[in-house]
Every structure is written in C-alpha cells, then in structure tokens.
C-alpha cells in the first residue's frame, strides 16, 4: 500500500521529495489544491471517506504521517 500512496503523491506533485520532507503543510509545500487532489484520489483508490476535519498538519506533514493517517482511516 505504501508504494501506492507514494505513487499518488508523486503524480500530483512530481517535484517534491516525499521521502525526505517533514513539513509538507507547515512549510506550505503542498498547496490546498494539491491536498484536495491527493485526498480525493485516496478516497477513490482506498474507498475511504475523508472530510475537512481530517485535514490537519499532523496528518499530512510527512509521508509517514500520511501513511499512518490513511491506515487508521481504512481501519475504522
């Protein structure tokens, strides 16, 4: 699943090194439309529902955080 996630991220923003960055939201690397595209793709691919409440820096700041967040979403 992690590769899928990385694939999705890179397709939206090929210019960002998701393996390295730790402050994707805090440093403004991901724009709001990027976040929307990523989230909606997640929703399509993993059949989860993500809403505005989930858009928090702690869920999206790094690749690990994103994986953890998605895992938790899928589980619930």
């Amino acid at each position: 699943m992690q590769e899928k996630i990385m694939e999705i991220l890179q397709s939206v923003r090929p210019d960002i090194d998701f393996a390295k960055e730790q402050a994707l939201i805090d440093d403004g690397l991901l724009e709001s439309f990027d976040v929307i595209q990523i989230m909606t793709t997640f929703m399509d691919e993993f059949d989860v529902y993500i809403d505005a409440d989930d858009i928090e820096p702690e869920n999206l700041n790094s690749f690990d955080a994103i994986c953890a967040f998605l895992t938790q979403k899928i589980g619930s």
Binding site: S32, F33, I36, T40, Y49, D51, A52, I55
Partner: protein
C-alpha cells in the same frame, strides 16, 4: 491612541512591566492580558464599544459551553442548533456593524430632531478579526477538535488578545490558548527579538508606507495626471499597503513576542508571488488559514458536492470543479470581509477569477508551458511571472483604493485614456530627497522579501551580530525612524518665517 503614538509605546511598556512583575504569581498573567485588552479597547474607542464586545464574548463563551455539552452527549440535532444559531448570531453581529451603519445614522438624525444627541458611530475595534476566531472556536468544538473553554478570564484574554485587536492576525484557539495558560518568565531573547521586530515594523510604517502614501495621494488627487502616472501611483500603493500592513503586524508580533507569545505569521515574502493563488498563501496568511480550514476544505470535501462533481467525466475536472467552486466562494467572502461596498465584492470576484481560473486552466497551462519549452525554474520566466502577478494584483487594488465601484472605474478610465497630461513625480507632495528616501525604502522592502524568500531572515542575522554592531544597527534604525519618519507635520524653514506676524 494610534499604533504609531507615544501613548501606545507607554501602554506597551506598562503592560510588559506588570506582566513580568507578576510572572511568579500563578495565574496572574491572564488577568494582566485581560486588563490590557480592556484598556486598549477603551483607549482606542469608547466604553460603549467595550460593552458591545464584552457582550459578544460572553455570548460565545456560554454558547461554547452549551455546545460542548451537547456534543459530548452526542445530541446531534441540539448541537447543530446551538452551533448554527451561535454562528448566525456572531456573523450577524459582524454584518450589522459592517453593513448597517446607515440604520444608526438614521436613528441619529431622527433623535437629533428631538434634541437628543447620539454619539458618533464607531466600528468596534477588532470585530472583523475575533468574530472569525469565535466562529473557528465554535466549529472546532462541534468537530470535537477541543473542548469549550471553562475559564472566562482565559477566554476573554484569548479572544480579544490586545495585540491582535488592531489588524490581526486571526488567532485560533488551539494555537493561542495554550500560550495564554502558560506562565511566562522574562527572557532576554524574547525581549530582543520582539524589540528588533517592533523597530522594523515602525520603520516600515513611518518611513516607507506613510511616505509613499503622500505621493500616492498627490498623484491620484491631481486631475491632470497622465494614465501611466496613475498606474504608477497604484504600483506605489501596492508597496504602501504592504509596508503599512506588514509593518503594523510586525509591531504587534513583536509586542506578543516580548510577552513570550507567538502569533501566526501573516506574511511570507508576498512580493515574490508567482501566481495569484500563491499570493494568497503568502499574504494575510492567518485569514487564508481560516478560509482554508473552515470554508474551502469543508466545501470541497462535502459529500453532496463530491457526488455532484462525480458526474463530470474527466478525472481532473471532477476534482477541479469543487475546488473551483470553493475558491470562488472563499474569495467573494474575502472581498466582502475587507470592507463594505460593491467595490469589495468585485475585488473578491477579481481574486476568485484568477484563483478559480488557475484551477480550471491547470492542465491547459501546463501543456502550454511544455509546448513553449518554458521551465518553471528558468530565472527569466521566474521574474516574468513575479511581475505578471504583481501587475494583476495591482489592478485588483484599484477596487479597494477607490471609495466605491464608480471610483474604481474612474481610476481605470484615467489609467487607460489619459495618455497626455503631466508625467512628473515632482510637486506631488514629495521633493527630490523625499523621493529618493521613498525609492530606497521600496528597495529595502524588495530586498528583504528576496532575502526572506531565500531563507535569510535579516532579524536573525541582526540578533547574532556582535553586540557593538547590534547597538549601532539599533541606533541607526531608531535615528532613521526619528529623522525620516512621516509624523508631526511637515517642517520647513520657509514656512516658519512667513507665518503670521
């Protein structure tokens, strides 16, 4: 009392002294902040305004507690009722003071005929800012992001936090409240950092912004000014607004820093914006943060809207549709939030056009760049997009510089029709030395943004200089503010000699 007055400086000094004098008394500093909030409201407006503000704060405080209880008891209908009722009240409160001044003036006129005098209308200070804070607070409670605040003093200190009453930033509960609750010990780094930031803020406001302002007024009030000159005045106005707003914010952030409190940054080198979209992530960021969290994402990720957008075949456009819709709504609100009048609505629509347009045209734009072999990282292209964005935004400012929509169209007309006419910058309120100082000021603004964009923060560099160099820097800055600041009325020897005998 204005931000650039001695009274304000004395006020801040008094607050800081009291704040740290009581730093060892547990729980005392929140009272100092609350008292400072009350004092600032009274010094800058009137006691009646204080009553209006306190009333609103109490309302939201109790609404928050009720909402919290309803949410914890999982009573969805009730919590929705409380939430939307409270939000409606808060927004209506703001809208009344923004849009219905005429009802008060009507009342004033009617009573004046009966011989009863009403005080002059004053907009409650900070209302535009803390109403957003209050909405965010209530929404977060209903989404279980945090509990309602039980301590009324803490809540009052947070919601009407005095540095933010003048021009923001828009504070959010989760970021500011924990700091209100902490005990803050006096710390030389905080004092130094705050001091440097305050100096920079006053420099921008008094030396740069107010000086540009004289020239802008001088050009725009001259009926014979040529079109290009009018446009140049609006370019200057862009710099003036930036220096004035960010300068005021720097003073305010510096004051908060001296109190060991960190507020949300509002600016991130906006002069370097490569698109209107990016600009709004660099300018007035606390407003952008609010809009993003509480309007943009909720609209885009709303189930009904997502269902609607699924009807669009293209994968890109099904996502883009809701983003487009949300952007338009956000920017119309941003426009209206900035002021009353149709010109502000148009201002919002203007921004929405470019941001929404960028969303819709995303793939087309990318393809075009590829066809023309333009690399985003190309320095010439980079400068081009910066200037392009700056120009687009400058035209947008026509709508807020003018008093109303008619005035804005007049400004446009003047820019594009009168090519003949005076082109000189002289005799518009600044003499040649004044123009030079202004030019240097604008250059400083630009360089500061370029450096900040490359990760170099001048403030930090200053704080790490050798102490004598630092002292020299402080003295030079203070002397520049004293000498070149636009305050106290113009003085020339000639005017003195020819005054009445």
């Amino acid at each position: 009392m204005e931000l650039t007055s001695y009274h304000f400086l004395l006020f801040i000094l008094a607050v800081l002294i009291l704040y740290y004098a009581l730093s060892r008394v547990k729980g005392a500093q929140r009272y100092v902040i609350a008292a400072a909030n009350v004092a600032l409201i009274c010094f800058m407006t009137r006691k009646t305004i204080l009553i209006l503000i306190v009333f609103l704060v109490l309302f939201v405080y109790f609404a928050g507690l009720l909402l919290d209880k309803a949410v914890k008891e999982k009573r969805k209908a009730l919590s929705n009722l409380i939430l939307y009722g409270a939000l409606f009240f808060v927004v209506a409160y703001l809208c009344y003071f923004k849009f219905f001044k005429w009802t008060y003036e009507l009342l004033q006129q009617t009573l004046a005929l009966k011989g009863i005098g009403l005080v002059e209308w004053i907009f409650p200070i900070g209302l535009s800012y803390y109403t957003l804070t209050m909405c965010a607070y209530l929404l977060d409670i209903s989404h279980k992001k945090h509990e309602a605040e039980r301590n009324l003093i803490d809540f009052f200190a947070f919601v009407t936090f005095f540095p933010s009453l003048i021009e923001g930033p828009i504070n959010l509960y989760r970021k500011l409240m924990p700091q209100i609750k902490e005990q803050h010990m006096i710390n030389p780094d905080n004092l130094s950092e705050g001091f440097v930031r305050i100096l920079w803020g006053y420099f921008k406001k008094l030396v740069i912004a107010d000086r540009i302002g004289v020239l802008v007024i001088g050009i725009l009030s001259d009926e014979t000014a040529a079109g290009p000159l009018v446009f140049f005045a609006m370019v200057l106005y862009s710099f003036q607004i930036y220096a004035d707003f960010s300068g005021g914010i720097d003073v305010v952030m510096g004051v908060a820093r001296m109190m060991d409190i960190g507020l949300t940054e509002n600016f991130k080198a906006p002069l370097l914006s490569v698109s209107v979209t990016e600009y709004w992530a660099r300018w007035h960021m606390s407003l952008g943060e609010f809009m993003e969290k509480y309007i943009y994402y909720p609209i885009v990720l709303n189930r009904r809207i997502m269902k609607l957008s699924k009807k669009i075949k293209s994968t890109y456009y099904s996502k883009a549709f809701s983003a487009f819709l949300a952007s338009v709504i956000v920017f119309v609100i941003v426009g209206i939030w900035h002021g009353t009048g149709w010109n502000y609505v148009v201002y919002g629509c203007y921004q929405a056009f470019f941001v929404g347009g960028a969303v819709l045209m995303g793939p087309v734009y990318k393809a075009l760049l590829q066809k023309l072999h333009i690399q985003a990282k190309n320095p010439v292209w980079h400068i081009f997009v910066i200037l392009r964005t700056f120009t687009v935004l400058t035209f947008g400012r026509y709508f807020i510089r003018a008093k109303d929509l008619t005035g804005a169209f007049e400004l446009f007309a003047r820019t594009f029709t009168s090519s003949a006419g005076k082109q000189t910058l002289l005799e518009k309120g600044l003499d040649v030395p004044g123009l030079i100082v202004m030019a240097i000021g604008i250059l400083i603004l630009i360089i500061a943004d370029i450096l900040a964009g490359n990760g170099i923060r001048i403030r930090e560099k200053v704080l790490h200089m050798h102490i004598l160099a630092r002292f020299a820097f402080y003295m030079v800055t203070i002397v520049c503010i004293i000498v070149f600041g636009m305050y106290g009325g113009e003085f020339t020897g000639a005017s003195f000699i020819y005054q009445g005998f």
